[in-house]
């Protein structure tokens, strides 16, 4: 499989995904220090999970 095959992902996409995952991890840890009602923690956790999923879909489409 060569680099020019349709399955190849650019190096920039890897770096952007990495940066995005680090950002979401910091957000996840940061939110755990905010005194919010339990339901809000669930909502933010699900939003973070959805953001990870959406990023994965977007990066897959723009390979």
């Amino acid at each position: 499989m060569s680099e020019s095959s349709p399955r190849a992902i650019s190096r920039r996409a890897y770096l952007m995904t990495f940066a995005w995952l680090v950002l979401l991890t910091l957000l996840t840890v940061g939110v755990s220090f905010v005194p919010l009602p339990g339901a809000w923690h669930y909502a933010i956790g699900l939003a973070v999970g959805r953001a990870r999923r959406r990023w994965w879909c977007c990066s897959s489409c723009t390979r």
Partner: protein, 246 residues
């Protein structure tokens, strides 16, 4: 034999060696390297599906008992070292990036970068295990090992829990040790696999057309990373934490 009396010229020898290598890598049941590559990937995905079931049951268990004993689980979670857990998350994310770049280098047939990225991936895996070892030592010092080093009276006097609630703290800690221990074992296996690939890559065993082993090892390593991304909030970030609270 050519006119100079040589059996093969250097160019012919190189070409033959590549042909032999490629033929050797293609197992007889596959019609092509691409087919063999796809089959290897499918096999790894099936294996990872069984791993999802394996870890999924443990996550489900934590979820069910966390719902049943929210106070005890949050008290116990506050005692875990979220700083080391957070730093380890960044270490594993970086190692996943290195592994992805290793697969990228293998797909491009670049041996030098492949060796470098595989080496960095394995090194970061070792950093993760070293930090995990430090965290386990601190847990030992903090009496957080049920059945071996655990002070029930401390949870009653310091955290205001009833003796029956302390049993639920122990339950959380058992989940913590089992889940992080099994994850650590997976990291250790991954380091072994990547180190083996590193040796093979240095010998030139992979090419742009034939690097299925690197790709499936990458799938495994990313899975190990993803499991940790779930372990961090599930075990370390329950309830509202306080800075300096451990």
């Amino acid at each position: 034999m050519n006119p100079n009396g040589q059996i093969l010229t250097p160019a012919e020898r190189d070409e033959l060696s590549l042909t032999v290598l490629a033929t050797h890598r293609l197992e007889e049941q596959y019609p092509s390297l691409e087919h063999q590559h796809e089959t290897a990937s499918l096999g790894m995905w099936l294996f990872l599906a069984t791993e999802v079931l394996f870890f999924g049951v443990l996550f489900l268990g934590v979820g069910v008992y966390r719902h049943a004993y929210p106070v005890e689980f949050e008290k116990a979670s506050e005692r875990l070292n979220w700083v080391i857990g957070g730093v380890n998350t960044l270490v594993l994310l970086t190692s996943s990036l290195a592994m992805a770049l290793a697969v990228h280098a293998a797909a491009g047939g670049r041996r030098g970068p492949l060796v470098g990225w595989l080496g960095l991936t394995a090194a970061l895996g070792l950093v993760f295990l070293a930090l995990k070892g430090l965290e386990y030592y601190l847990d030992y010092r903090e009496n957080l090992i049920p059945g071996w080093r655990f002070d029930e009276g401390e949870w009653v006097s310091r955290d205001g829990l009833r003796p029956d609630q302390v049993a639920h703290v122990k339950l959380f800690l058992v989940f913590y040790w089992v889940m992080t221990g099994l994850h650590g074992l997976h990291v250790l296996i991954g380091i072994g696999v990547i180190s083996t690939l590193l040796v093979l890559a240095r010998r030139g065993a992979f090419s742009a057309r034939s690097h299925a082993a690197v790709e499936v090892a990458g799938l495994y390593w990313h899975f190990v990373d993803v499991v940790w991304l779930f372990l961090l909030p599930t075990l370390y970030l329950l309830g509202t934490h306080r800075l300096g609270g451990g």
